[in-house]
Each structure stands twice: as C-alpha cells, then as structure tokens.
C-alpha cells in the first residue's frame, strides 16, 4: 500500500471577494495529515486571500488566516512547497471544514488583461477561477 497521497480539494470562486465554504473528508486509508499547499491560478490572487480550516471540528487556521503564509510560489521547488503541521493531525476519514475567501479584484486591477480573462471565463463557465487545496496525507 502507498504511504503518501496528495488529496485535492477544489474550490470554485464565482465572484471577487466571495467566501466559499469547504466540506470534505480525508481518505480513510491514510493516518495523518502532514501538510497543506494551496494553489491559485495567479500569484496576484494571493493578495488578501484567506483560508480557515477545521479538522474534525478542531480549528487549525482561523478564518482570517492569509493563504500567503501557508503556500509558496513557482520559485519554490515542488517538494518544498508544503506547509507542514508539527502536530499529529488525524486523517483516516476526518471531516474537513473551512472557508476560502477571495482577496478581491484590486490586485488584479494592476493587470487589466488578466482581469478581463477571468471575467470572460466566468461568462463562459460560471466561475472566475478554481483554487486547489492539497492535503498531504501519509501513513508514516
């Protein structure tokens, strides 16, 4: 059996400044959540983006926690990107609840073409962008 899994939670943001509730469950075959990494389609979106996280109703990050403090950019090597939890955070089918808050469009207003692209995507598919939260699950 594999000892590691990167479980993905996808969050679709439909409007700037929107808060999206997250509800998920960790894979039952893994014992521990080792770390977290949040991937956004553009680094400008990091400005003001927040993530609250609860595991089995235990608060890990408050809702006002900035994503920039728990993630890293393209310049960081792939195997160094994760924010590690020092404590034992139970996986094994744990309930994951959270709140993702978009930081608004002010940072993107610096790059009107990107803003335009996102609005065009919304007109096409109904959402501006997708944030991906990766949980590093392990049995080690």
């Amino acid at each position: 059996m594999k000892n590691h899994k990167f479980q993905q939670i996808r969050v679709r943001v439909t409007d700037f400044g929107e808060s999206v509730r997250i509800n998920a469950q960790t894979d039952k075959q893994y014992a521990k959540i080792r770390g977290i990494y949040v991937s956004l389609p553009d680094e400008l979106l990091l400005s003001g983006a927040l993530l609250g996280l609860r595991v089995n109703n235990q608060e890990v990050f408050e809702d006002a926690h900035e994503i920039k403090l728990i993630t890293s950019g393209h310049q960081v090597a792939p195997n160094k990107k994760f924010f590690f939890f020092e404590e034992h955070l139970e996986a094994g089918g744990s309930a994951i609840e959270g709140k993702f808050t978009d930081g608004g469009h002010e940072a993107l207003s610096e790059s009107p073409s990107k803003l335009e692209l996102m609005r065009a995507r919304k007109a096409e598919s109904g959402y501006l962008y997708e944030a991906k939260i990766y949980l590093w699950l392990t049995n080690e």
Binding site: S47, G48, E62, A64, E66, K68, E86, E87
Partner: protein, 129 residues
C-alpha cells in the same frame, strides 16, 4: 505531541495617522507564545512599495514590558518568517497594544493588517532567575 495555533489580531486602518488600540484574548489552552508576524492583508498601490506603513507595539498583561515592537513595511517579496518570541501565557491571557499608521499620505486608502501570534499548548522551560 504539542499543538501550534495562530491567534490573529485583525485591524482595519481607515484614516491616515490613525491610532488603533486593541485587546485580544488568547484561547486558554495555549500555554506559550513562540513567535509573531505582522502582515499587510489588503492590496496597496505599488507606489508604496518598501515604504513603512505603520508601527505596532503590544504587551502581555504587563505595562512594564512591551514584548512586541515592530513596523509594517509594504514589500513585494517579503519573508513569511515569524519573529521569535518566548512568552509564557496565563489561562485566557489578554494581549493589548497599539497600531499607529505612519503612511500619512493624501490619497489614503483603508487597509487591513493582521498580527499573527504563534502559540503552543506546550509549557516552556522555566528560566533560571
């Protein structure tokens, strides 16, 4: 195994030169504060890059010692490291302090600042007197 939690003091600065005093209660199960970080949450115009935005000082139930004194700078690639702190907490400890905006510019736009307190439920070693 010890637990690390980040207690956040969130401040909204609405006018130039504003002085915001705050009091924040740290959850009772946390025993020690091991670090802090001040962070600009809002997006600010790049013209203010590398400028000091404000200063913050805070103390833990003691007016004798300001455990935290720091300034907030608008940086593009700022470090996300925490500054070290080693403060034993009493149950339900209150941290109180002041943030002073030093930007004082004419085209001021309100912004949000977060003070992160990295705390643990693990008791620290008592220092020799």
């Amino acid at each position: 195994m010890s637990v690390t939690r980040y207690s956040i003091v969130s401040l909204l600065v609405q006018k130039p030169g504003e002085i915001i005093s705050f009091q924040h209660k740290i959850p009772a199960y946390l025993k020690r504060c091991t670090g802090f970080k001040i962070s600009l949450v809002s997006f600010l115009d790049p013209q203010y890059l590398n400028c000091e935005l404000g200063r913050l000082s805070a103390s833990f139930n003691s007016l004798k010692e300001e455990a935290i004194t720091t300034s907030l700078k608008h940086e593009e690639l700022g470090s996300q490291d925490f500054q070290e702190l080693d403060v034993q907490l009493h149950p339900g400890q209150i941290i109180s302090g002041v943030y002073v905006d030093t930007m004082l510019c004419e085209d001021f736009k309100s912004y949000r600042v977060n003070l992160y307190l990295r705390c643990t439920d693990k008791e620290g070693q008592t220092q020799n007197q």
